[in-house]
Symmetry: D2
Subunit: 347 residues, 4 copies
């Protein structure tokens, strides 16, 4: 296959954006990505000035973003690894230009106005924003594979949300879980999830030798979890924690089953649902995923333990927050969008 698709990335200097650039550089089906910087991001000339990790692999020039450049450079798909305010502002313009967008921020994930409030969006044109919201595809190929080929705007799911929605969806859709009992998600994430901006929260001395819970009952990803799973707010408790590691997420999820079940039935539920899903790995009963297993891969790993009573289920899911939780999933979205092999460039 010839490389005919031209991708571009805005925000390649952040952690997720850099991971994305690296994936696109070695993706067999696309041209070398155009890397844009936004105004105010400083003006390094090349990505390898910031990340010497990739020096020696050929040029990686950065250029200031301009809308004309999109056309001039023949960009087919624009990846936004930008803060959600920026994505919220830029996507309407990109739509006007007819450029397909894969947005890694939280700007376009939520259909429910109430869940969007936490982001405090200021839309220039509410009608346009509503139209785009209606068109946006929640970029989790395992759940919305069919909508991606025609999509013009893909909202890549949040990292925590991915680790929770993927294991729960098959059980919820099969009606196995007593939702009124409540779903508890105890999630732990590495620090890269907090972004590259130095803050007190990301200072090495504050994070090392530590573990902390934060944003209990108030994390931004709550809305997408509720929407995708069809839960009411009072059916979910979601507690994020900051782990002293650079990357990786482990979510421990607690649910009560509607009836007494066998471990094999639980496992089968996932295996059936994810039969054609190359980026989900289901672990057999008695073997739990660990963060290390999924680092630098695009897998979401799912394992579980079932109590002797056959009712209390503990699910453990793991993923790499910069891969399946961000850049890897974005590339997976692009693959499905262009009807390529879903895991192309991700192995």
């Amino acid at each position: 296959m010839g490389q005919t698709v031209q991708p571009a990335v805005v925000g390649a200097t952040g952690y997720a954006g850099f991971e994305l650039a690296r994936l696109l550089f070695r993706h067999p089906n696309v041209k070398k990505p155009v890397l844009f910087t936004r105004e105010g991001e400083g003006t390094p000339e090349r990505l390898d000035d910031i990340y010497p990790h990739i020096s020696g692999n050929g040029a990686s020039p950065l250029e200031p973003f301009r809308w004309e450049a999109l056309r001039n450079r023949g960009v087919d798909v624009l990846f936004l690894a930008t803060p959600h305010e920026v994505s919220r502002e830029w996507v309407p313009q990109a739509a006007q230009q007819g450029v397909r967008v894969i947005d890694l921020s939280g700007a376009w994930r939520l259909a429910t106005p109430a869940y969007r409030e936490i982001y405090q969006f200021h839309d220039n044109d509410a009608a346009v924003a509503d139209k785009l919201t209606a068109e946006a595809v929640y970029g989790m190929p395992e759940l919305h594979r069919d909508k991606l080929p025609g999509a013009t705007l893909v909202a890549v799911p949040g990292c925590y949300a991915t680790s929770i929605i993927l294991p729960l969806t098959p059980l919820v859709r099969s009606g196995l879980i007593d939702l009124n009992h409540g779903v508890i998600c105890d999630s732990k994430s590495g620090v890269s999830g907090a972004g590259k901006q130095p803050t007190a929260k990301t200072h090495f001395v504050e994070v090392a030798e530590n573990l902390s819970a934060y944003a209990v009952f108030s994390h931004r990803h709550t809305g997408e979890i509720l929407e995708q799973l069809g839960l009411a707010p009072e059916q979910l408790v979601f507690t994020p924690h900051l782990l002293p590691i650079p990357r990786g997420i482990l979510s421990t999820i607690y649910v009560r089953l509607n009836s007494v079940m066998q471990p094999r039935e639980i496992e089968d539920c996932w295996r059936t649902f994810y039969a054609g899903a190359p980026c989900v790995r289901v672990f057999p009963a008695g073997k739990l995923p660990q963060i290390q297993y999924s680092l630098h891969t695009n897998y979401c790993d799912i394992g579980f333990a079932l109590a002797a009573d056959g009712r209390r289920l503990v699910i453990v899911s793991c993923l790499d927050n910069l891969m399946k939780g961000a850049a890897g999933q974005a590339v997976q979205d692009m693959n499905v969008m262009f009807r390529w092999k879903e895991e192309e460039g991700l192995r």
Copy 2:
């Protein structure tokens, strides 16, 4: 006050035992501890040969344990920082010798035979074991302060168990929690909790950059949590995780309240219960404990977040597994046993 009490420690070369020796060396009310090694532990001559950390602070000779030595050295209280099998075997002999024992292992914590099965004890004399079990005081001064002065055998609580029992007891005793809804304890511990023996599980490369859940529905501490809280097995889910840090535990605990409550009422419940407890710190609503805050202290820190519905409560507790989770609590037990200031030697 003169230093009239002579303590001895068996197992000072392990992590908890070493912490204990350090605490006793600088405790103002006791003589310098006698440090015993067990057969088969090798024969270093001094504790600072193994832990150069303490060299320069005077002699710390190790001597092989013999029962006669207890008498010859005038030992008043014997700390066992030994594997539970050893404690189970030695405590009956110590009782015969009339020596008071503070045991850091799981050997004497459990009254319920079914909960003890996991330890697979082989008692030489079941009647003696039963008698000792009946006499043993669960060494959590906050709950059993009155029984400690007369105690001859103190079973120091498990580290995970302490982090769970302390925050839950006041709420359970006040009838605030819907126990039938179930109590979920998601606990995360540093590696020193796994002991000093090198294993695949404690290898640096396996632990670093990782997080893993283990022993779900099968951890040994489950029994003591159930007993102390008066829960039925099906009312509890307890999931331990191994953190990539040397020490510290954070437990995130999920309960449903029987009625709608205000944050202030929750906080007050703990503040009232722990009014005279110098080793518990209650955090105000909106401020959560972190592992760092309690490291190298004997505090159990308790904080919480209450959902807007006033029913879903998330509790976060932290402690240092080698201090309040082991050696520090053992010293606290000794302090209460001898009617000293409860936090003597622990600040």
Copy 3:
């Protein structure tokens, strides 16, 4: 002894300042320290708002610094845990007020004008600055014990410098080292040495899983090392590295001996020199210090390996950069200044 000395601390919210406050709070010979904040540092009301680590141990109010307050509060000794520019500006004022100062910054350590250039001081009154420089005592009690009791201004040595000057001084003064051959100091430090201000350099993701050398041939501590050891600039190479740990320094020092020596002779040189020094531990040949051994202590540990040729000597020294490398050494200075036991409050 009654507690008659009133200490005050400016900068207790930084890492070294906090360690210092903690040491002073439990120092048996001093009154509770007055904790001052500088303008622009924000206005928390209590130190335990910032460091919940110490909550539960009594009040730790912070108050805005004013010169009058020094008198009103009867401050006998003022500790400055402030940036060097601040110390350079404030010490002349303190001198005018007749307050003794123990300064933890690099502001007053250097007698040689050329070595001070790197700090770019802007003195209001050069003559006063010169006079103070002449009066300042380099606060390493092991080398300048006699000058401390009468000192009005103590410049606490740098952390790296302490780890290098202490092991080398006895060998240099005994003429054992071929100085013209050159002295090479390869030092590695934990991140707290870089201060509490969040920067790209201290971001967890940049530090974890990493090691980096920095400021080669240009680190600020170079001047004090040269001055205290009496070396010419071309006789020293000093390479600092940033370690992925919160605290601790290990320096590996390479020298050539003037004549063939036995390990025992090297060890004896240190043992003789530091016979009365309670804060230096000399390790026997064949046993090297590690960072862990000295953490949370005020020791500088010294060990070595001598090549079979008896000429090439590798010295390894360790210390805790916040203790013997900053706050602990400052307290040690105070102890000697007031003719107390040198290690009082430091065990």
Copy 4:
């Protein structure tokens, strides 16, 4: 190109062996590797039982090693990721079978008998061992590229040695370094270099929050460094340190130049020497490599700082000990051996 070469690996369950297996699985020019286990290694059936990291990528069966299997499976090149005693014993047998071997251990790296003593080899047939030693190629393609295509036995260099030999060789060969002044190599390595066997040295609690020097003047890699650089033992000091990270090496190397030089001249020396070397990256003056930059790559990164006097040179080199320090370099050797692109399968 068809995949005609059949590789096999013994020891794929260790850290370097697993990295090697992963590289071979995705190498475009070779068939899927045969993975052998040695007697006594236990009998897992598949590599992904031990490393769930790679599950989902197809079968990775392990089979017990037998010499007949080499022939039956048509093995063209045998990788030994085994302890040096095993390699020393097996290579003569492999030679008899006519199988080309790439050995990752220290068994065949050293020509000088004195330097081999530290390994305490017990050869069944000294004459055969001598013959093989003479035939063995030191597998550093940058220095011995021409000898690899015809090689029957390749001894992959040690990880520390690679980080030292690569930066020093161009300078030594150009006569720039005053060797009699001595070369000092201060190296720091992640823990995976110590192997997968759990020991006190690799226990998480002993490594975390720590740094330690070890094997000063007695590390096994000393011999290969001396041989490859043509140094006399008294011209080298090599100090390894254990870093609290899973992987990566940084070596800080100190030399004196024979004459005053400019930074550009130093840089040019490396650039010229490594003009055709795709796995060496030379950093410009003023920019130093860090361990992170080279992780999960096959690069050896080289940077430096030159003192103002133009004589004292500090070199910093970095590599991933499991890649360029072991498995990656082994694959690089295979690539040159079979006249493929040198970095094939390593990007």
